[in-house]
């Protein structure tokens, strides 16, 4: 028996290790478009002052930076997108999808699946988990 299930997902609380893993994936993805994207724990505002409470974030030569601050376990997206190609709204959507995908991969691995993830057009992400006799041998 097989089924299709559609779910709505929201991030209630974040895990710092998964946050950092997520930011590495976002940096790799953005590097294909923006060049040298780096993961950082310092993100500046419009006046280049460090925004407090940032756990992890990304910067690039053409991106002033976006980061994730955590308050009571909840993620808060921070950064300044004035005159930037990547807006805070786009970054927020990207972060939510990548973080969900990272959680999915970790959960499937905990269930004994071999996992791989692929980025599809339109910012969709596919995660496949496979387990069973003979698979991958």
């Amino acid at each position: 028996m097989s089924q299709l299930r559609r779910c709505s997902v929201k991030i209630k609380t974040v895990n710092e290790q998964l946050l950092k893993q997520t930011m590495e994936s976002i940096a790799k993805f953005l590097a294909t478009h923006f060049g040298n994207v780096r993961v950082t724990d310092k993100v500046g505002d419009f006046y280049a002052r460090d925004i407090r409470g940032v756990v992890t974030g990304i910067v690039a030569d053409s991106i002033r930076g976006f980061g994730i601050a955590v308050q009571d376990g909840k993620p808060i997206i921070v950064g300044d997108d004035y005159m930037q190609e990547l807006t805070i709204q786009k970054f927020t959507n990207m972060f939510e999808n990548f973080y969900t995908a990272t959680c999915m991969q970790q959960a499937l691995q905990a269930m004994g699946y071999q996992v791989n993830a692929t980025l599809l057009p339109k910012m969709e992400i596919a995660v496949r988990g496979v387990r069973g006799a003979g698979y991958g041998t």
Binding site: R6, E96, Q106
Partner: protein, 70 residues
């Protein structure tokens, strides 16, 4: 099929589509629920909007039906 597969797609609106294959009986439902429970433990708020049984489920059910002809 000797292996089990779970395909997940996160669409551009952030909706999550979970497609299970290769399971017998209602084990696909249990496996999908186990996945959802792990995601909730990880801090995600997951609400199931819709569940559809796939055609292969119905195909199996139909093959088990005896057709009597007069």
């Amino acid at each position: 099929m000797s292996y089990k597969r779970i395909d997940i797609k996160i669409d551009e609106q952030g909706k999550v589509h979970i497609d299970t294959s290769g399971f017998s009986g209602d084990s696909c439902t249990k496996e999908a629920e186990r996945l959802v429970a792990l995601l909730q433990q990880a801090g995600l708020d997951v609400k199931t909007d819709k569940i559809e049984l796939k055609a292969e489920y119905y195909a199996k059910a139909e093959s088990g039906v005896e057709v009597k002809r007069k």
